[in-house]
């Protein structure tokens, strides 16, 4: 039984025109689609893109150690207490946990937790608060308008606002009045040294074999940080919020 299709006359000129049009459309439209797909692959490819994180062993940190973390960060980035100001910069700060019954005290450094789903990025009206492909959460101070929504949104109180006119900033850490700032995970060191980078706070407290603050790639199952997480586990602070912080604590 002959169908209608069989009866259609095949005209070579028409076929060539349709083929040509399809090729043209592919050239014009497809690059956009291809680029879009490549861009997506580079940010989602868990195997290739690192996710930098910290593993902090609070049992190995004394109060003096945490103080050393704070002052190392201050030296590295040039932030310090403005005299008499209740709104000091706090890239990293010391927390004390006390158990009322036993009297046990623990000290831990608290800074930007570099969340996988950062609330500060969700609320930013200008896109200045952003997460890099490698998981580091930063403020692009060129687009920050100083509205401080991100400070409100952050469950860890990790960000601070610069109220004073500043002088003598350091080349690695541009910072100025009217913008929000927080821990950068020493991004300038990471861009230089990659997986071998050591953030300033870790450098200040790591002695000998055991690293009290361990920096590494959470996406690489072979990295030291992943191995230690696998064998010992760790706490995410306020894990109930589901923001998946990249800074993990042991011994809490």
């Amino acid at each position: 039984m002959a169908t209608e299709l069989d009866n259609i006359e095949i005209r070579p000129a028409r076929r060539r025109f349709v083929q040509g049009a399809a090729a043209l459309a592919t050239t014009l439209i497809a690059p956009g689609i291809l680029l879009y797909k490549t861009g997506q692959a580079s940010s989602n490819g868990a195997a290739k893109t690192p996710r930098w994180g910290l593993l902090i062993d609070t049992n190995a940190l004394s109060e003096a150690d945490v103080d050393a973390c704070v002052s190392a960060c201050q030296r590295e980035h040039g932030w310090h207490s403005e005299a008499g100001s209740a709104t000091d910069a706090q890239w990293i700060r010391k927390l004390r946990l006390s158990d009322e019954r036993s009297g046990q005290q623990q000290f831990l450094p608290m800074m930007c937790q570099h969340c996988a789903d950062p609330p500060c990025v969700d609320v930013c009206p200008t896109g200045a608060s952003f997460k890099r492909d490698d998981g580091i959460v930063l403020v692009n101070k060129h687009t920050c308008i100083g509205c401080r929504y991100c400070m409100m949104a952050c469950p860890y109180k990790a960000r601070s606002f610069i109220h004073e006119t500043l002088y003598d900033q350091l080349p690695v850490a541009p910072r100025g009045k009217g913008t929000v700032e927080s821990c950068t995970l020493c991004v300038h060191r990471i861009d230089r040294d990659g997986a071998n980078a050591v953030p300033a706070c870790a450098e200040a407290v790591n002695r000998g074999e055991h690293k009290a603050i361990l920096f590494g790639d959470l996406n690489d199952p072979q990295s030291e940080i992943s191995q230690r997480l696998k064998s010992h586990g760790a706490t995410r602070i306020r894990a109930d919020l589901g923001v998946d912080p990249g800074v993990r604590y042991q011994g809490l």
């Binding site: 900033q169 100025g176 913008t179 861009d191």
Partner: protein
């Protein structure tokens, strides 16, 4: 309706006057009459040349015309993607375009001697890079701090913090 018989002479006269004024300003600027009152009374900038560098990252004419675009482009690549290998970093500019670390002189941004400030003041460009960014290399920053703590250090060319703030106000820094 516009009365062309009145408007045309008026236009011609004003065109003539503005041409004369412009020509006057131009000739004065060419003659370098810096101190005279009236037009062109701004000194041609003499920015501090690098003490120990041979050539800039691009030819002079490109740098003069395009430095802001080069910086802007690399700025976004650095902040957003962490690419720090480019040639056009502000830190790189400031490492060279400042007195050498061995020299005693420390020059801060609003000082007309500063490489950027000289031309920015001359061209009346208000740019706020140095409200956040370091206006000199790391070694010079440490040196400036030391000199700050020692007020009785004469002849270093260093501006005190107070002068610095006054100059910020004068030059229109916000």
């Amino acid at each position: 309706m516009i009365d062309c018989s009145k408007a045309l002479p008026f236009l011609l006269v004003s065109l003539l006057i503005s041409t004369l004024l412009g020509w006057l300003a131009f000739t004065q600027a060419v003659a370098g009459e810096v101190e005279s009152s009236g037009f062109g009374a701004v000194a041609i900038p003499q920015p501090h040349k690098p003490d120990n560098a041979s050539a800039c990252v691009e030819p002079l004419d490109i740098m003069r015309r395009e430095h802001m675009n080069l910086l802007l482009h690399q700025r976004d690549a650095t902040v957003l993607d962490g690419e720090r290998d480019g040639n056009y970093s502000l830190v790189g500019c400031m490492d060279c375009h400042n007195p050498a670390a061995s020299a005693e002189t420390v020059i801060r941004y609003p000082d007309p001697q500063h490489f950027c400030a000289g031309c920015h003041l001359y061209a009346s460009v208000k740019i706020d890079c140095f409200e956040c960014h370091a206006d000199r290399g790391l070694a010079k920053i440490e040196q400036g701090r030391l000199a700050d703590s020692n007020v009785a250090q004469p002849g270093s060319g260093l501006l005190s913090l107070q002068t610095f703030q006054m100059q910020l106000g004068d030059t229109g820094g916000d």
